[in-house]
């Protein structure tokens, strides 16, 4: 272990030393030699120039070299090349200072060519007359070194992994989940964390993707809503969202609107109104409906119907305020026009009602007043026939007969007209009516007063709310018409049915009689209007007019279908409420 000193320092002459107590020394040397040779430590005695004087048996056992071998090769060759310089420097530090020593760790060559980590001390005992050498005492520290290396490896492994994890976590925080950490083969906690991080990254990546899709979908809906939709931050009431309709209405782009508040965009009076409503919504935390609010836009003043809704977090704190505004300017104008028209219409209606009343009153009094002279005509014609009939020739009697026939007919007409005009004055009194019972009553009355051959069938009729007396009249008139116009058929057939449709009950009276030409349909329900001659079928032409008037008074509809010689069907609607 020598050769670290190139200049000679001291000349030691052990042989010149006196040995005062030869026996005692021999005993002592034996003791120490025995201790050294039994020791597991590797002990050497060396001269400053590097020559080894002694190596302990343990050194030869551990490293494999004998004293002779050490003495034949330069000392530094037995030290790892990387450790030689350090050894020489430390040796320089003690060589001039007897009694001084140094501690070091270094690798020593083994005979098999490998190196062994050792630590120990080198002490300058050159001046000791009993020793006169450098004593080195080293021991094998391979296990400790290996443990240290493992520890260091582990520390650097953890450092490497944690750095990787920190980097990925930073990316995740920036919502970038594409990066993944590597998973080692150790299967340790670090790998468990790596797996956890990667799983989290995958989950979040997929979640964010879904969120983006969902946002894109919602955004597409929002953008296409025809009403203006906006959102404000609940804290400073600045706009954070506007849809296309909002941009169009206000004539400004999102860039111009977002980040602004009402004061930035609208006159003070309007801004104060909007902000006041916003605060009300946020305080009450519930929807607020503002039926009409004016707003200044690039197209002038517009009127909006706005609903404001607070958007709350899970704890109920307001995050945003959402608004949906419908531009009701045109509707408002139309409504105003309709309101004006309604007023005008109402005035017209009042005038019309007055005229109608006058007309009804006139027709009533006319028909009523006509009856007296008519009775007189009829009466006197009868007297003329009875008292002076003998004086009249055949032509005279025929004329008198015609006078009486027409007077009678005129009486019937006046009676019908009176009945018709009375309808105008009569208030209808609705109650729920069993139409089967009503129809049976009509049929009984009809059969008592009219002789006919018709086969009349009455279906199962729906009950309705109506004026019993008036609807009795309707059914009587229709039934009587159906029987009359089918009387010339070989097998006259009449049916009365009902069906419920769209909340209404439709009653139908059908026959297989003479029918009518649909070209003259518009005359069908007119007063004194007839589609057949008196010779064909008797009648005054008031029956259907009465039917129509009664049904109209009930709020129902009347219509008919017919074909000349192909039968007719009359329908009317009533409701059961």
């Amino acid at each position: 272990m020598i050769g670290w000193r190139h200049k000679p320092i001291v000349k030691m002459k052990r042989e010149q030393k006196e040995i005062p107590h030869k026996e005692g020394f021999a005993k002592s040397e034996k003791l120490f030699r025995s201790m050294i040779e039994k020791s597991a430590d590797m002990i050497t005695l060396a001269l400053p120039e590097g020559k080894l004087l002694y190596v302990s048996p343990s050194l030869t056992d551990i490293l494999g070299f004998t004293l002779e071998e050490y003495q034949s090769i330069p000392a530094f060759k037995f030290i790892h090349p990387e450790d030689v310089q350090g050894m020489m420097e430390q040796m320089e530090g003690i060589i001039e200072h007897p009694g001084r020593s140094f501690f070091r760790q270094q690798r020593l060559l083994r005979k098999d060519g490998t190196y062994l980590w050792c630590e120990g001390t080198v002490t300058n005992m050159l001046n000791d007359p009993d020793i006169g050498a450098l004593i080195s005492n080293f021991r094998d520290i391979t296990e400790r070194k290996e443990a240290e290396a493992k520890l260091s490896e582990k520390v650097s492994y953890i450092e490497k992994r944690t750095n990787e994890f920190s980097e990925v976590l930073l990316r995740y925080t920036l919502m970038d989940f594409t990066e993944k950490v590597s998973i080692g083969k150790a299967g340790d906690e670090m790998d468990a964390i790596a797996v956890g991080l990667n799983t989290l990254g995958e989950e979040l990546e997929s979640y964010i993707l879904q969120l983006k899709k969902s946002n894109a979908f919602l955004n597409a809906i929002l953008e296409n809503i025809p009403n203006m939709v906006f959102a404000k931050d609940a804290h400073d009431l600045r706009f954070v969202q506007f849809n296309k309709a909002g941009e169009k209405l206000l004539g400004m782009s999102k860039d111009q609107l977002l980040g602004k508040n009402d004061n930035d965009l609208f006159p003070k009076e309007q801004a104060d109104f909007f902000i006041g409503k916003d605060k009300e919504v946020l305080a009450k935390k519930q929807l607020l409906d503002i039926p009409e609010e004016p707003i200044d836009t690039h197209e002038g003043k517009r009127w909006l119907h706005t609903q404001k809704i607070p958007i709350l977090d899970e704890e109920g704190n307001a995050l945003y305020l959402m608004g949906i505004s419908e531009d009701i300017t045109q509707r408002r104008e139309r409504e105003n026009e309709i309101r004006k028209l309604n007023v005008e219409l109402e005035n017209h209606l009042h005038r019309l009602e007055a005229v109608n009343k006058e007309l009804e009153s006139f027709s009533y009094s006319v028909s009523h007043d006509l009856r007296a002279p008519l009775r007189a005509i009829n009466g006197y014609a009868q007297m003329l026939n009875e008292d002076h009939g003998a004086k009249l020739d055949a032509e005279g009697k025929r004329v008198l007969q015609i006078i009486r026939f027409n007077a009678t007919k005129m009486g019937t007409l006046i009676d019908d007209l009176l009945a018709f005009s009375r309808l105008g004055r009569k208030e209808i009194q609705k109650k729920t009516v069993d139409m089967n019972e009503l129809a049976e009553g009509v049929l009984r009355e009809f059969n008592r007063s009219v002789t006919h051959q018709a086969e009349i069938t009455i279906g199962n009729l729906h009950p309705v709310k109506c004026d019993y007396g008036l609807i009795h009249q309707v059914l009587f008139n229709l039934l009587s018409n159906a029987v009359k116009y089918s009387s010339k058929k070989e097998r006259p057939q009449v049916s009365v049915t009902s069906e419920e449709k769209n909340g209404e009950v439709i009653f139908s009276v059908k026959d297989n009689g003479a029918g009518f030409n649909m070209n003259y349909y518009n005359k069908l329900f007119g007063v004194f209007q007839r589609l057949h001659t008196q010779d064909e079928f008797e009648g005054t032409g008031v029956g259907l007019a009465i039917v129509q008037r009664i049904i109209a008074k009930h709020g129902g509809k009347v219509w008919a279908e017919g074909k000349l010689n192909g039968g007719a069907a009359f329908h009317f609607t009533l409701t059961n409420n």
Binding site: L151, K154, I158, E159, T162, N163, F165, S166, L169, L170, Y172, T173, M175, E189, M190, A192, I193, G196, L197, T199, L200, E203, L204, Y207, I208, L211, N215, L218, N219, L222, A231, V240, Q241, I311, D313, E314, L319, Y320
Partner: protein, 59 residues
């Protein structure tokens, strides 16, 4: 090497985050080592993700 309880807490928190429970935070020790750096990163991520989950974030 002694088992570090913080590593277990990191694993538990990662599992919770994967289940979209972002409320958990891990206390940072006084060691200030690499594991603590991960914990700080994880806590920050938790705060960010809690923000993303807020309803009404329709921007």
């Amino acid at each position: 090497m002694e088992k570090d309880v913080r590593l277990e807490m990191i694993q538990e928190t990662l599992v919770k985050f994967t289940q979209f429970d972002f409320k958990g935070r891990i206390p940072v020790s006084e060691r200030g080592d690499d594991i603590d750096a991960i914990i700080v990163g994880l806590n920050t991520l938790g705060e960010e993700l809690e923000g993303v989950k807020l309803p009404g974030n329709f921007k």
